[in-house]
Symmetry: C2
Subunit: 231 residues, 2 copies
Amino acid sequence: MAKARLCEDFNEECRDIVEQLFVNFISYSKKQTFFHEGDDIGIMFLVCSGWAARAIHLADGRRQITEIFLPGDLFPVHASISQGVIEDEIVALGECRVTTCSPGALNEASRQTNALTRTLWWLSQRDAAILRMWIAMNGQYRVYERVAHLVCEVLERLKHVGLGEGNRFDFPLTQQEIGDIIGATPVHVSRSLKQIRDAGLLDIQGGVLQVHDLERLQKAAHFNPGYLNPR
Amino acid sequence: MAKARLCEDFNEECRDIVEQLFVNFISYSKKQTFFHEGDDIGIMFLVCSGWAARAIHLADGRRQITEIFLPGDLFPVHASISQGVIEDEIVALGECRVTTCSPGALNEASRQTNALTRTLWWLSQRDAAILRMWIAMNGQYRVYERVAHLVCEVLERLKHVGLGEGNRFDFPLTQQEIGDIIGATPVHVSRSLKQIRDAGLLDIQGGVLQVHDLERLQKAAHFNPGYLNPR
DNA sequence: GGCTCCGGATAACTTATGTTGTGGCATCGG
DNA sequence: CCGATGCCACAACATAAGTTATCCGGAGCC
């Protein structure tokens, strides 16, 4: 987190403000659901380490992960319960450490610091761009392309906060969870991973993913990082 | 538009403000692209009649529609060009009439009227919920379920602004365009539509869609309108 | 009238992906 | 040590969806 440099506007001043605002540390363990205390007010989370995900539970029992939160990501949890039905949940993917802050305090600080305002705006734009890209991924790409694209996106996002050095990073997802992201069965995820592995593009061992040939991986994924750098 | 009642907070006052702010009328014809004038500043569009869409053009030439804008919808068009690459475009689906406003003026008005602030927040929440649902649609549903779900969503959204009476509404999409939304080939869209038609659920004739049995259609689509009513 | 063009229906065939089941190999707790 | 359990690999098979092609009807155009 210390090395975080999300966007041009995220400067020293922003970092100091954020570090002052986010004080309570919480740890969630694998598969633990983030509780939404104070539904009306909501709460802001900032990921320190580990991954979390937002997932929709569909009527027929299937699950779709719609967003993943990596170290440095900021996201709100507000009333996600509408009409008595749990629309979606936030869940830890592996051990996940976060800090929290009230949306009110963050908004107040943002009113006083232009750079923070712009950073928050940038974050929301980027998140929307990712959502749109995932729609395209799930709609247009083959499963092995989706797997490759997911890895490329995660690596790129990690690099924004100073992680992923040597194209190597902690990768806590099971194949079932990858499937829940890209809309595929775990069996097919396994098949596709083998294909990518056999092509010498990457390896996953002991929860650590190592990209061997980023250029070819990005090509296979039709990956273009533009959408991760809005404006 | 006169009957628009998006959310609880969208009251008489809001409507008056919006009608004062949005003054320039523009008409776009089928397949015409919305130009983004003043990339830095951006511009807000409010749809009066017709449909528009935001689409991503992927590296290999495929196209994915990521959002559709119906009468009453409000959306920004800002710099959608990043690093010299056109990331996405806004295009009219059939004849589309809109009005415009500068984001600055809207923000200013929103600072002065709480109900408007909340309405704008509600809209952005709803749009994000739709994006997430489309990820789930494309990831988890069969093609005929996706077609059914799309129709259910559009009908529900139209009803929010006083349209779609008698479960009947203008439907300007070609099968190709439906395919670009749900991630399927036009041939398969045709097949699925036939299936839905043969089941007596709906009919499309002369650009008008008539739902015959909404309850069964929603069931076939696993449709739950909760996500369209955030908070 | 007779063009062309576009959107739609449908058929035959191919392929990507899902389904079901089996077995291996860790890890964990008694 | 044993037996559970969870994750992964793989195989055989079933099916949803893509591909390619043809035909048809309506809209526009000369």
